[in-house]
Amino acid sequence: MKRKAFRAAFPLTLPVMAGYLFLGLGFGILLASKGYSCLWAFFMAVIIYAGSMQYAAIDLLAAGASLITTGIMTVAIQIRHLFYGLSLIEKYRHVGKKRWMMIYELTDETYSLVATSEPPEGVDTGWFYFFISLLDHSYWIAGCTLGALFGTLVKFNTKGVDFVMTALFIVLFINQWLDTKEHRPALIGVGSSVLCLILFGPDSFIVPAMLSILLILTIFRKTLDKEETTHADS
């Protein structure tokens, strides 16, 4: 059962493998440049496991930021993750104890894979999502650790390689778009975010964007929830 789930999950994680290895490498190189060994990179990749947060952590560590500053920064950068759990309550419902591990590993990229994919026929749902989560985490750990170890040996120009994550989200967005006739939720997501980005600027737009998405989805629930209500109430 596990082997089957692993085989189904692995191909889906390949784009994340590429992205996490490169971004992890970048993190490891930066961290090492501040005088921290690969053990620190490994440790942070295992227990924090968050892309943009770990990049911010390098600056916080280097500046010797206070715990209060560290805490506020963490909340500000990570708050978007609230949405991930909120939309996976049902999917992770019958997964058992391993769901705590899966929740721990719920990054942007893992969320987007889990939210946009269903296990193939005959594959256990829980283990399928578990292996997506675990594989992604292992790529990140490998990338961060290798970056701190051998990062200085990378000689080719890596500028722009972080676009791999943007490309992943764009592709998943297109997949979702082509899979449904109801495009309003996707448009609400993009529209609210762009509007809030213009109004609040890149550093503080995410909370207003989340709130407005939630608000608009709530206001239009009656029209957007139409066909599905029968499933939900049965």
């Binding site: 227990i47 952590a57 010797g64 939309s87 987007s112 994550m165 979702q176």
Partner: protein, 111 residues
């Protein structure tokens, strides 16, 4: 030049704890053994579409449309990915090709 290891560890633990707390909070508020409110079920259906859209914007938040190169590398790459993906429906081709195209743009074309 490094802060004491104990302080660094404390900061790392704090970041990890807050990150996990944010990720786990919805699951604590709506535990699996109780019937999930229909509003949350509704959000589970529509939020993924909105959130992936939000993540695309989040990834592109730091590009500036007012200064050179005026988002051109990003716009062209996004357009290329969209065309190739709708045409071929090959995830790895779209992502890999898109990334390489973007790297060529920012390294050789729009310097």
């Amino acid at each position: 030049m490094r802060i004491p290891d104990s302080q660094a560890l404390l900061m790392i633990f704090l970041m990890a704890a807050i990150t996990f707390l944010i990720r786990v909070l919805p699951f604590i508020l709506f535990p699996g053994n109780k019937k999930t409110p229909s509003y949350i079920l509704y959000l589970g259906k529509v939020l993924p579409y909105a959130v992936i859209g939000m993540l695309v914007v989040y990834c592109l938040k730091d590009v500036s449309p007012l200064t050179a190169p005026f988002c051109l590398p990003e716009l062209l790459t996004v357009a290329a990915i969209a065309v190739v993906h709708v045409w071929k429906r090959n995830t790895l081709l779209s992502i890999g090709g898109g990334t390489i195209l973007y790297m060529i743009f920012v390294q050789f074309v729009f310097i």
